[in-house]
Amino acid sequence: MDNNLALFKTMLVIRRFEERLLAEFSAGKLAGTTHVSIGQEADAAGIFSVTDPEDVVFSNHRGHGHFLAYGGEPYRLAAELMGKATGVVGGRGGSQHIHWRNFYTNGIQGGIVPVATGMALAEKIKATGKIALVFIGDGTLGEGALYESLNMAALWKLPILFVLENNRFAQTTPVEKGVAGSMPGRFAAFGIPVWERDSTDVLEIQSAAGEAVGVVRSGGGPVSLIIHTHRFSAHSKGDDPRLPEELIRIRQFDPLIIHGARLSKNDREKAEADAISSIDEAFLRASADPLPGLTVEVPASDVGRSNLEI
């Protein structure tokens, strides 16, 4: 498929999926919490268009877009959000705790960064050629575990891309109240090269990500990619301190509009129809699926592959 069209389709599926999700929440059909990436879709689409399917990805609480761009099925994700047995992790993890193939998420800010760094070390040791990617937000710059990881990733020249999605807010806290000094400076201090874009244009992000990933893959050690972006929706569901004018103003950065302008009307409409119908089908199918049962198993001293005889 044509690159422009493929990127558009990925962003559109993420957008329509998350809009549907919010609608289901509002209708009381979904419970719990969720964080959508509406407005930030260009990051996921651009980055996963330049990675290898075998690369190892650790995403965070705002990870639906990453999962879908990675190649995850909308149906399995919808089922997971509904707590269904057919969900990505059988209804145990929900929105922010999923794992499929080489894709992992956890809802703990900062803690996923050393885990991803350890994954990069493992891939380096095994010489698989895979790289690791980890996603953080501006608010996560406040977590100490991040800096321990940057230090060790740089010391050991690990194949990892640190992706910082600066959507200018951490829940309700604006960056001015949460982040001192310089964002790139935080990586540069460890000798980690920085690619930085203030953009929601997926082509710009694709090219920056392509360069950054290329450096990591060629053994250049850790690299960071900082993308300054905009989140259009609330942090989770109702928590948005921004003024309505501001929410309207940032719509000018809508990645779908920016990139959609590069496509024919026909292509756009076709993509739209495809996205809507595939997501309809995903939610419909998932809602008919069974709920999981609870198996309580106490693994007292179940030693598995015990190949260490003594």
Binding site: P114, E148, L308, I310
Partner: protein
């Protein structure tokens, strides 16, 4: 006469020789220093690429070990002092312990985190604690403690071969203890039973009718058996000892069997008394066996002092165990 330290060192070496997925990470673990307590001595010389000395970054040490474990390696992380496990709590509780279950059993996390614990070395409030109680009862995390009766090498190798995360607690005073098998004569008065499984519990049964059961783990077994000998020699009071290697999740069956014979339980631990291991073991025992009497010996609910006389007053000693046993026997 082998000491516990040598068995632990041997276990690491053996594990690294038999499985190339085993890696060590920790602070100052390279030769010639070989780690603050020398458990890794010699290993960086033998396996220079697989012993990784780290910055002082406990959260990242365990976090990276978690990531390595998720991706097919078998990392063993050393935390220089168990007190610093607080810095790894997020990685142990919210990452290592969670991944398998929350990812619907699609992954395993074969990570081992080793940490020296315990006092009586004069290291003061932040280098002497027994914090393992904070990590008991975390679903998905095993807490295993070696002793001088079972083979610490077997125990550590089993932890490394385990597909789930294991927190391995080593008391600092245990390192220099000779293995019990080599201390001939000391245990002749007991018949020793051992449970099946990788992390066995031991029941030491005296020749005469026992008056109470003492439950303990790790280094405290050294104190408990001295107390048992003293009670036997000087008071003609016979006790059964139940010694655990796996604290969490726990299987108290051997303890219940013993309590059916004695009806009295004394728990001994070096952690603080309130809301601790002994409290939970006692509660389980009382729920299971109506009418038993229980008592706990543990540290006072205070930080551990640096000075020896204060530290001795705070931590439970041999005489505390003997006194508590006598009181319980008399009830």
């Amino acid at each position: 006469m082998p000491i516990v330290l040598e068995r632990l060192n041997y276990a690491l070496q053996h594990a690294m020789e038999s499985d190339e997925r085993v890696y060590l990470l920790g602070e100052d673990i390279l030769d010639p220093y070989g780690g603050a307590f020398k458990v890794t001595r010699g290993l960086s010389t033998k396996f220079p690429k697989r012993v990784l000395t780290t910055p002082i970054s406990e959260a990242a040490i365990v976090g990276m070990a978690n990531g390595m474990a998720l991706r097919g390696l078998r990392p063993v992380a050393e935390i220089m002092f168990g007190d610093f496990l607080t810095l790894t709590a997020d990685q142990l509780v919210n990452h290592a312990a969670k991944f398998r279950w929350m990812y619907n059993d699609q992954v395993r996390v074969p990570v081992v985190v080793r940490a020296p614990m315990g006092g009586r070395r004069g290291y003061g409030p932040t280098h002497s604690q027994s914090l393992e109680k904070m990590f008991l009862g975390v679903p998905g995390l095993k807490v295993v403690v070696p002793n001088s009766l079972g083979d610490p090498a077997e125990l550590l190798c089993a932890a490394i071969a385990d597909d789930d995360p294991v927190l391995f607690i080593e008391h600092k005073l245990l390192y220099t203890c000779p293995m019990s098998v080599s201390r001939e004569g000391e245990l002749v008065d007991f018949q020793i039973e051992q449970t099946q499984g990788a992390y066995p519990a031991f029941t030491l049964r005296p020749a005469n009718t026992p008056r109470l059961t003492i439950a303990c783990y790790g280094y405290n077994f050294e104190l408990v058996r001295s107390a048992a000998l003293e009670l036997m020699m000087e008071q003609e009071i016979f006790v059964e000892i139940v010694l655990f290697s796996q604290l969490s999740p726990f299987d108290l069956e051997p303890l219940f069997l013993s309590l059916e014979r004695t009806g009295k339980l004394l728990t001994v631990e070096e952690g603080t008394r309130s809301l601790g291991w002994g409290a939970e073991v006692s509660a389980e025992a009382v729920e299971r066996l109506a009418g038993i009497k229980v008592r706990r010996v543990a540290a006072l609910d205070l930080p551990i002092a640096n000075g020896k006389n204060l530290e001795d007053a705070i931590l439970p000693g041999l005489q505390d165990i003997v006194t508590a046993a006598l009181e319980l026997a008399a009830r």
